[in-house]
Symmetry: C2
Subunit: 280 residues, 2 copies
């Protein structure tokens, strides 16, 4: 039963010279697969291609990633839910930051179980503000790259009493969760942080902004302060694996799951159904 | 002939689940080995231990790294010069930023050739200012970690006409080279950027600051502006592999190698000799 494909071949190891290991020189995507169907594959591959372009990593034929996904799903328990992580690194090279532009990238597809705790999180997540800030680099803003020490250190702050951490930039603006994007309902407007300077532009974030506009809901992508998040009528986080999850505890204060969160969760479910049907 | 040891065993691959690959979750050191002797090993291991501590990665018994280094040197051409890169990652784990604190770290020791171009660089390096800024995260400042996309993208700007790139922070202060620390002689003071907020505190940088003080030379660790570097009487860069190299061209302007650069290069050579003799 294949769990991992490297350049399309079942394998469990990468070269010790891979630049993904040495420098985090690559990009990745995390794709939810429910009942044997991978969700929003086109959007994930499109974002990955864009991120690879930003790093000047040659992007392989997307059909190769599609084959990897199909092979991993075919070898999984067909009815089971899982997560497929795709990675593309610049490949194995000589020591040193400078790279040979002709290097062959390493294509990785890795299947893992859908975390059981997601079912609990759907009822409500406990969140806190993290001390570890988001890393800032204008050249890397928005790219889902492999330099993720900020999220690693932030998630280590959570302990057992929290499910997700809200990360701030150095000016203490709310940016994102350690593994999610953040939304708030403030004065009936759906607000999410502007990610022009840092943070990862999530696929689900994009879908929800579109879906909300389609519902006639006013949206705002802007600077967001901690006190605004604390005072918001509704707060939720989202990503490809957890979908939409209400935040029911924030920095020790209780919050109620709200109607807009619940409506957007339904919109997302609908968009997923359309996506999966279109792919069949 | 062993080129790489992973947890002390000759190998060429790491687990595809290694957190070094997924998140850049680890630290590294680059050690110069000349005529069969590894330089400043104690200092490198001490910095690595401190960096691992900042990331809460358990640090192995340093004797294990010493054994790795000895084994790689014993299997190399004894008279040859080489570079040994040590890496310590948090180890192979399940998907997700959160980690099990009991994870066994991955210890990597990798030998490569000393780059031939270093001999040319000793005569003078051509440098430019890079557009890619240094990544900023207060929790990571000074740590030689595996999140190095900023240096990768900056070094890609150099092309064939430049040997090293000078990187700035978002406020356009001079911070470091893509692979080196930067020094300037300004009004007879040896100046190097303050790295409290970002950048890597190099071993050689520390040795030169000590050595300069020992010579009665005034030193300044402070904010440094681009125009100051351009106007400085002498500019040089340093790291463990290249030692001290004068910058003889900066942003298109020619510069002369100066007497303080040359004196510090001799001081460094002297400190290396003392270090190697003490280790024998």
């Amino acid at each position: 039963m294949n769990r991992c494909l490297i350049n399309g071949i079942a394998a469990g190891h990468v070269s010790v010279s891979d630049r993904g290991l040495h420098y985090g020189d690559g990009v990745f995507e995390t794709i939810a697969c429910v009942a044997g169907s991978a969700e929003f594959v086109r959007e994930h591959l499109s974002r990955m291609r864009e991120g690879a372009g930003r790093l000047a990593i040659p992007f392989p034929d997307p059909a190769l990633f599609l084959q990897d996904i199909a092979a991993l799903l075919a070898s999984a328990d067909a009815a089971g839910d899982c997560v497929i992580k795709l990675m593309l690194t610049r490949g194995a090279g000589r020591r040193g930051y400078r790279y040979d532009p002709l290097l062959a990238p390493t294509r990785i597809a890795l299947r893992s179980e859908r975390p059981a705790r997601v079912n609990r999180w759907k009822q409500g997540m406990r969140a806190r503000f993290c001390e570890t800030p988001v890393s800032v680099n204008s050249r890397l803003a928005g790219v889902k790259h492999l330099n993720r020490l900020d999220s690693v250190l932030a998630s280590a702050e959570l302990g057992e009493s929290c499910d997700e951490g809200i990360m701030l930039d150095p000016q203490a603006h709310v940016i994102e969760g350690t593994m999610s994007n953040v939304f708030a309902v403030i004065d009936d407007v759906l607000v999410t942080p502007d990610l022009a300077h840092c943070g990862v532009q999530g696929i689900i974030r994009g879908k929800l902004l579109q879906g909300a506009a389609g519902l006639g809901l006013q949206t705002g992508v802007r600077e967001l302060q901690q006190h605004e998040l604390l005072a918001a009528a509704e707060v939720f986080v989202c990503n490809s694996v957890i979908g939409v999850c209400p935040v029911t505890q924030l920095a020790g204060r209780r919050k109620q799951p709200g109607p807009i969160t619940s409506m957007l969760e339904q919109v997302l479910q609908h968009l997923i159904e359309i996506d999966v049907q279109a792919a069949e």
